[in-house]
């Protein structure tokens, strides 16, 4: 494909994203909550796979597998991150950023399909790194509408059921928590060394929360000790509740990427040099 066509296609794509941002405001992520996000993910990868197998020379597949696309998307993603890094405002909910991530994921998926069908040296490294990035980013991107982060003030006096999100909205996660005890260790100079809270969940299960030691309440809910009274012996703490049903996909991606990075170190740059390229 001519380089000019590739650039033109991506300019139109990102211009459309910018136009959506101007016309509609931020990307309405919550309307893509489960099962819409799962259905879209399945349809999207199925459609890309069919296109890749049936129409490998089509404009879309040629565009998504071109090396210019690698540079354009990596460059735009990095530039978007620079903007995010310098700005106090979050841009991760904008149409522009969502379009960038979706394009990057589409490109990665086609590159993985292309790489999987080829006989090559160091294929394991290639597959682990690319599939790992794909799963880690896709888990975060598609899982974002189903992700919740609440704070629940919990006391000894009465069981708590109401949780508050970062916008101040009240939710009911579906269980009640009650504080049994709270303790704080201190260094000699009075700086807190460790916190520990003992809670009961639904008056049945006991949960012990410490910093860096969350409590796994269910396959998608984890409890964290968010804040305590430093004086210790208090009868009040704040519990953070995270609901992340897609975290397993991200975790799988992280593990694959860790394995891929080990191979990157062990096999080094010489692997690429001898082949004169990966594709």
């Amino acid at each position: 494909m001519a380089m000019r066509k590739t650039y033109a296609a991506w300019i139109i794509y990102f211009a459309a994203a910018a136009a959506c941002q101007l016309a509609l405001g931020d990307f309405p992520a919550r309307i893509f909550a489960f099962p819409v996000n799962a259905a879209i993910l399945l349809l999207w990868i199925t459609a890309l796979s069919i296109f890749f197998n049936e129409k490998p020379r089509s404009f879309l597949i040629t565009l998504l597998s071109s090396r210019q696309t690698t540079f354009i998307l990596l460059g735009i993603f990095t530039a978007s991150c620079v903007f995010q890094g310098l700005s106090p405002e979050s841009i991760t909910g904008t149409w522009w950023f969502c379009a960038t991530v979706l394009a990057l994921l589409s490109h990665l998926f086609i590159v993985i399909l292309k790489g999987a069908g080829r006989i090559r040296r160091f294929k394991a490294r290639f597959m682990l790194n690319h599939a790992g990035i794909f799963l880690a980013i896709a888990g975060g991107f598609f899982g974002s509408p189903d992700t919740y982060d609440w704070r629940m003030p919990v006391s000894k006096e009465a069981a708590s059921r109401e949780a508050i999100d970062k916008h101040g909205n009240i939710s009911y996660p579906g269980y009640e928590l009650r504080l049994e005890s709270l303790s704080t260790d201190f260094y000699d100079n009075g700086v807190p060394k460790n916190y520990e809270a003992r809670l009961t969940v639904n008056s049945e299960k006991e949960a012990v929360l410490k910093v860096n030691h969350p409590y796994r309440l269910s396959w998608m809910d984890d409890l964290y000790l968010s804040a305590t009274d430093n004086a210790g012996g208090s009868d009040y703490c704040v519990v953070q509740i995270t609901r992340q049903p897609w975290k397993y996909m991200q975790f799988a991606g992280i593990l694959m990427l860790l394995a891929g990075s080990m191979l990157l170190f062990l096999q080094g740059a010489a692997a690429t040099r001898k082949k004169g390229g990966w594709r």
Binding site: F71, G85, F251, F265, T272
Partner: protein, 257 residues
């Protein structure tokens, strides 16, 4: 017991040994260069180990403490590069960088107490920080090589830079992912676009661009060198520059200066 009061002695001895090693390398005396530099590393490492014991925690909490690791890892990475590729100038640059980072710790003393806040009491703390510092030092060597290539207007050093960047990116990836796994344990989410995380992603993205550029555009040496320089600048931004940004006031990565 070894503490910050003794740092100037250990730093001075290390710097003298590193500079002696660099002079030997310049004169082509490879065994002496390796021996002197390794002795300098050992002296510096003894100080870090002693500080670790006296503080009763890993010395990785403050910027000043991470500078210790960077200074020593920088010289380790340069020594490995010299032993493998025999660039006689690389030990000179690494000695300068090690000296600068040691001097900053001497002239800008910061708070170095024994406390380690609860969030840092994790099994991920030591691997996350040391791996990051080691990757920074490898990228620092790649940066020196890019500057040397730009000054001499040649791309002949880029194959060495490739090796350093591949190893550095592997460690950078491990550092970033270990941070994500730790963040899940401590804050409930793998990635939250905190300023530090954002700059880590930027740095990673630039080194990925470099690696892809070297695969597809092998003869564009200037582009590769610019990416190495940009990557190093972003890496410094991620390490300490991010603390200067207004957004850093709300960062979850602020543990003390």
């Amino acid at each position: 017991m070894i503490g910050w009061d003794n740092f100037i002695i250990f730093a001075a001895v290390s710097v003298i040994l590193w500079i002696t090693g660099a002079i030997c390398a310049w004169k082509g005396k490879k065994p002496s260069a390796i021996a002197f530099t390794a002795c300098g590393i050992a002296v510096f490492a003894i100080f870090i180990a002693g500080l670790w014991i006296s503080l009763q925690r890993p010395p990785m909490r403050t910027l000043g403490e991470t500078r210790l690791w960077y200074a020593v890892f920088m010289v380790v990475a340069a020594l490995a590069t010299y032993a493998r590729w025999e660039y006689k100038w690389i030990l000179f640059f690494s000695a300068i960088m090690g000296t600068v980072f040691s001097a900053i710790n001497i002239f800008m003393p910061q708070i170095h107490d024994q406390t380690l806040m609860p969030a840092l009491q994790s099994g991920w703390f030591i691997p996350h920080v040391t791996v990051y510092m080691f990757s920074y030092s490898l990228m620092g060597c790649a940066f020196i090589i890019a500057i040397a290539g730009c000054i001499q207007n040649t791309g002949k050093y880029l194959e060495t830079a490739d090796s350093l960047v591949y190893a550095g990116t592997a460690f950078l990836t491990f550092g970033m992912l270990s941070g994500a796994l730790w963040a899940k344990q401590a804050w409930g989410i793998y990635w939250s676009w905190d300023p530090k995380e954002t700059w880590a992603a930027i740095t990673w993205g630039i080194y990925l661009l470099y690696m892809h550029a070297r695969i597809y555009e092998r003869n564009r040496h200037a582009v590769a060198s610019i990416l190495l320089i940009l990557g190093f600048i972003c890496l410094q931004m991620c390490w300490w520059g991010v603390n200067l940004l207004p957004a850093a006031q709300e960062s979850m990565h602020v543990y003390g200066q």
